[in-house]
Symmetry: C2
Subunit: 159 residues, 2 copies
DNA sequence: CTTGACCTTAGATTTAACTCTAAGGTTTAT
DNA sequence: ATAAACCTTAGAGTTAAATCTAAGGTCAAG
């Protein structure tokens, strides 16, 4: 039997989080001491680990609540139901990755076009790309290069 | 000159969004009609497009506000400053992608281990994986296969 | 002159998952 | 017996970016 702080430490979460999970119906200790302290059993700890594992693969708490209720009533559910949830989540995750890949490609293109030097941003390719409609990002061509920093890669490049 | 609804339609955002951007200092039309209607200039429209382009590469509104203020005062900023912001965002995006890739791999593994059929979830590999500590996901081996659905791929696989 | 589409404001609500605060009761170690 | 470390509750705050609501003013057409 664990007190809330003990279970929290054991599973590396905050006590706040355990109370939050209780308030949202994910994990409610069956027992309380006379003075009202929550007492968690090993079974409660297992349930918490289930929650944390499900979180670790990307499920939201609402989805985890559903998974938990299925888990407690397995015989009335089919593999198709469970796999369905996983596959929906997989599709969501893949969609988010696709969006972020888009961001990543665009950001990389912006970053690569900019010299990143001490030159004034007056001709910064990044700002120009954000100002203009074009999908393409133009390389900088600083007409007034700084005399200092001779070791820095020049922003003048062919193209 | 555009009224708020016109600019909103032009740029495919809601009027609420434009008022929200104004409240947060991103886009404030210089003019109002006598009756108080916002009147946006072409310059305002360009500024909105800047905002939308920056959003499209993943910047938050707070970051976009910073980019806009740099853009209005370019000569006092260096390329390094601008590129720095892009590179920080790139790192954040890459980190998020890495996390989601982790989710994706785990979910795929869970999905692949489950037959997804009408079999009872009592021996569902996905639930078992969430219940147990092991990183590995075991394939299902339904001892009581359903007699119907003979066309469905069997959950019995070697391994 | 009235209907409908548009505009104004301030402020509340949404989503997700906590995180924190205040005010107080309990347990344990010294 | 008292201080430290723990626990309780209800409820507010956080983050981001809108989105919605209520109550009302403006404008063009018929």
């Amino acid at each position: 039997m664990y007190r809330i702080g003990e279970l929290a430490k054991l599973c590396e979460v905050k006590t706040d989080t355990l109370r939050f999970y209780e308030k949202h119906g994910l994990l409610s200790p069956l027992m309380r001491t006379e003075s009202g302290y929550r007492m968690y059993t090993e079974e409660d700890a297992e349930r918490l680990r289930f929650i944390l594992r499900a979180k670790a693969v990307g499920f939201t708490l609402a989805e985890i609540a559903e998974l938990l209720s299925i888990d407690l009533d397995k015989s009335n559910w089919a593999c198709a139901d469970v796999k369905g949830m996983v596959d929906i989540k997989l599709a969501q995750v893949s969609a988010k990755i696709a969006e972020l890949n888009h961001f990543q490609v665009s950001l990389k293109r912006l970053s690569d076009a900019c010299c990143g030097g001490p030159e004034s941003a007056e001709h910064c390719s990044i700002l120009e790309a954000l100002e203009s409609n074009s999908a393409e990002v133009k390389r900088e061509n600083h007409t007034h290069q700084h005399q200092n920093n001779p070791n820095k890669a020049s922003c003048k490049r062919k193209g």
